[in-house]
Symmetry: D3
């Protein structure tokens, strides 16, 4: 079953497009056709609510334009920016790396930890997990005190910090599964995975595979509640 | 203690500015100076995640411009759009009607119900209450099946629907307090309140009073976690 | 990527083998090779803890024998009998229809309802959902008062009862997604789905697709906690 | 709007009356008239359930006598002794420092910690927070191992212990807001606040300000459930 | 093992002493010696927080006087008045009918309902169950709209109301166990039990049996946290 | 009241029968007649889901044979194997040490910790406590890294490890009550209890005493929900 999937990098830069596309192409099934675009206006990375809020209009505008050409859309950021509004405005399934990684983790162990970038991810992702109703499966949120833009500056150092944080989560918080809490870490996944002896989930891969499965099951989000059809013509100035 | 408070109507219309300002002026203390502005670009009302996502950039831009001129800011919509990002970018307290009304309700009875506009408010506000950690105090979310723009078309009808929904919540769900779940209902508050024999909270009033209180206590939000300082110059195209 | 998947029908009858295999073959990817077996000793259907407890030894014995020949195993019953012990004794991923359907549902709407067979499913599945930590996403468990063995006796009647229960869940309990709470309903899925206007999840299909995904992602369950290696030679008399 | 507020020190001593009145006078609005009384019979400080239980009859008797002369009442102890019964017997709003401080804290950060006196406060206040339905916002309860009567013996030492406990909560438990968990600490507030770089809430001030706002909003507690009218004449011997 | 047990009727009347003693004598083991006393000052029945607060000093004074003469104490009211303070001031086990009935119910079915007197019991007992951490096992609180003093006025009518409320709980809220939510209903227990086909728990009996058990196991409450030793000499005027 | 109680050791060995019977005989009332049997086929100890799943058919077969000869049954393992199915197939009360110990602990302190054998008990018993709805009362699960079969090899060493784990729970996790999380520890109870200054609960004793009380109260489990009557003749090959 051929599936056309759009991946939106919710950052106003094409810096990661090639790496991300290469990575995701290796992950998807043979019959999945991938397109990857970034937004034009917005933040160059998402590390705060402020960044996220300026990324969403651009995401939604791409979706409005392109949704009829695809079978599913993945918004490539662990924070899942705009995922709810995206579901309001289209009938095809929308996948978010955060949501997808968390759900996948529940299948692999009792509790999971998320390893992410700066300290503010602790309350942010505790809140995210709470919204999804999964707090009882969360062991902890850990951070490596490295900003998104610095993740690939010294790859060995970043890998070491992730591995150290993950081991702490496994040892002290009884995490059984580790989730990389930033899709910017995807280029480091292979190396990290080799150094940790519990399952490690890379969220972009989890999201695109879950999206394929939802498409293949011929399912999409419900229109009966949270994702009702909005009025589209009420927006001025965009 | 003189307090200068900015109220932002997060809608791209000045339609409600006068009514809202008149209403809030009667609510605030004598020594509170009120300014009310609306956003330029965005939705004309907020009834979906889609609307909310297009309202936030405009809210944040007003805050960036004006924050040094005020002691506190109230974002005048029950959905509290942009409240987290707003706190990231300023040191003065930010009040949201949703948050404020919910917290006030906990002081007045065991459980509260929220009465709002269309059916999608049920999951939306259940989620909002969950994020705030208050689900155990929520009796129910009720809706009157009237859109924001129609609330004042036939005021009597709207009041009746609100009263009916509230009474159902009190009778069947054991609500002890009723919250109006849309600041667009503020012009109907007086009439509604007179017809319901449990406390009714109008969220814009609750927000501006709590904001005064926080200012007077010389408090503001913490910078140690959820509301860290974001990098402001990463946003392109806005 | 070729994937060999074993499906275990945890009932001591080959009655459903053919139907189930035909159904699942249509669901899996082209490169998935399916084998389906039933247990030899145990109940002819699973509708109580008693049934479940007598089904599990047979399931585990099949797994011990065959695990080295497959890339993943699906235990074809919504109750997920023996899923934890199965994970203890093998390194390949084990999928359960219950777990998989519930996790899939969380991606499609705010709250889900489960429609299943007899009245005792209400506490049983409330407990199951609680164990998975998903109670906050559960709208309700509904039952159609028909035993597993009678599901296909009068298909129209069964379909009508399922549809009626599902509509009640959507209307009265605000379910946005409906899960068929018995894999014995898979032959009715198509018809049911056509009569309900929210997403309907058939758990056997959800399980086998999630299993494919987990295999493709090269993941399996953690050995760091819940699923430790048991001593296998302590069992006498089996 | 002139507001007459009664503050009840629920201790059988006038030892703190003057300090407390001076402190609270600086906190209230210009148009608030304050009266402060202590109970005649009961404990000299509240540090156990035992103390609390002997304090309440005296509190309620003052309220019965004086309620018609005031617009609101604040019971000046973090344990909020008798707050539920007080609401049963009067129609004017009743504020408790515990409840008020906790609700205020939710507006200022993701999680808060309470710093209080002896070790038994840990389960006591965990229980209090649970009753209010706010456990998900609680980072921790910390204690300084100093009894109420010793708090002011060596002020520097007490301040240091509070600051140390607060810093531990911020560092290790991710508290973003600190609440002083005893109104006996109010004379130390200023000094403590200066030494901690997250918001610090002094509960007596939070309570009296919140009470002013509730009075100004013309609200009071609901009579529809928890706070029903009791029969007053059933009490013998008091 | 001979066990001396004190039962305290926390009401300022000896009206129920004989009935209660007769009832409990039939419940206890042969080797249990029972003494039953009522308080001198306080309410004539407990139906509000107000009543409860005036009952507790009398309870505690009896305990202080008599604790050395007994192996355990039961406070004979479903509200468990003063149970925490009682544990602070003595080392022998203290049983409360509310606590005991709720814990017993968890052993007999998935969810329980409490049937009690007036409407305010709904939030009161929801709160009580929440404090005990058992909310997930609560199906509902039901009330029969009859005050404690009227329970025995027309016994048939009261029995019918209890049975009706219990059946509603079983049918509509999926209660599997029913708890009588007032020890004043003990004289009606036998008759009620005969008319309901799920287990019915009478809390005074449950409490005294659990108390016997705890005494026989040579256990008592912990002193390490919630029940620390209070200073007894701080109370003035009692 | 004479009570005949069957104790089932769910292990395929008579190794512990004598010790256990001796121990329990000292615990029960004079009028309790005890019979203790072990299963014929199954594991020699229960330390994994795998073990548990192979123990249950043997337990249920004993119960089917012998239930008419007894007033109550206790399944002598902290994991409470087969307890739900056991309740389905008999009308007399079934007690489990895990369930009984947890419920008893709630009466003795705010939070309890469980001390058990190997590391996998942490998620296992966290899950068990969650199913029972008691997570809010759990301080922690601790393990001593000793397998069941080694518990009595070096008793002093085992006692020391239990005491050390218990003290850690009391000190660091604020446990007020300690539960021995394996009935294989019953021979060490006396010694352990003497070395820990909070209440220690031995679960087999707690279970058999609770069972006596339930029998004396003439109660048994509900048939209205979780424990419905199963069809017994559907099982093949056992």
């Amino acid at each position: 079953m051929t599936k056309k999937v759009l991946v939106i990098n919710p950052v106003a830069t094409d810096e990661w497009n090639e790496t991300d596309k290469d990575y995701l192409k290796k992950v998807v099934s043979k019959d999945t056709v991938l397109e990857l675009v970034n937004i034009e206006k917005g933040p160059t990375s998402i590390e705060s609510f402020y960044d996220e809020n300026f990324a969403v209009p651009g995401i939604l505008q791409i979706i409005k334009e392109k949704k009829d050409l695809f079978d599913g859309i993945m918004i490539n950021c662990f924070a899942d920016p705009g995922i709810y509004a995206a579901r309001e405005i289209c009938d095809i399934p929308i996948a978010g790396p955060g949501e997808s990684a968390l759900m996948t983790a529940t299948l692999l162990g009792h509790k999971f930890s998320i390893v992410s970038v700066k300290k503010n991810v602790i309350p942010m992702f505790e809140m995210k997990v709470k919204v999804l109703g999964l707090s009882k499966r969360l062991a902890s949120v850990e951070f490596i005190d490295t900003s998104v833009s610095d993740l690939e500056k010294d790859k060995d150092k970043t890998v070491n910090r992730i591995v150290e944080a993950a081991k702490k989560a496994v040892q002290d918080k009884h995490a059984e599964v580790v989730i990389l809490g930033c899709t910017g870490m995807l280029s480091l996944y292979k190396e990290v995975k080799g150094k940790i002896n519990v399952p490690v989930i890379e969220p972009a891969a989890a999201a695109i595979k879950l999206l394929e499965k939802v498409i293949e099951l011929n399912l999409s989000h419900s229109r009966a509640g949270l994702y009702a059809y909005p009025l589209l013509d009420k927006i001025k100035g965009y």
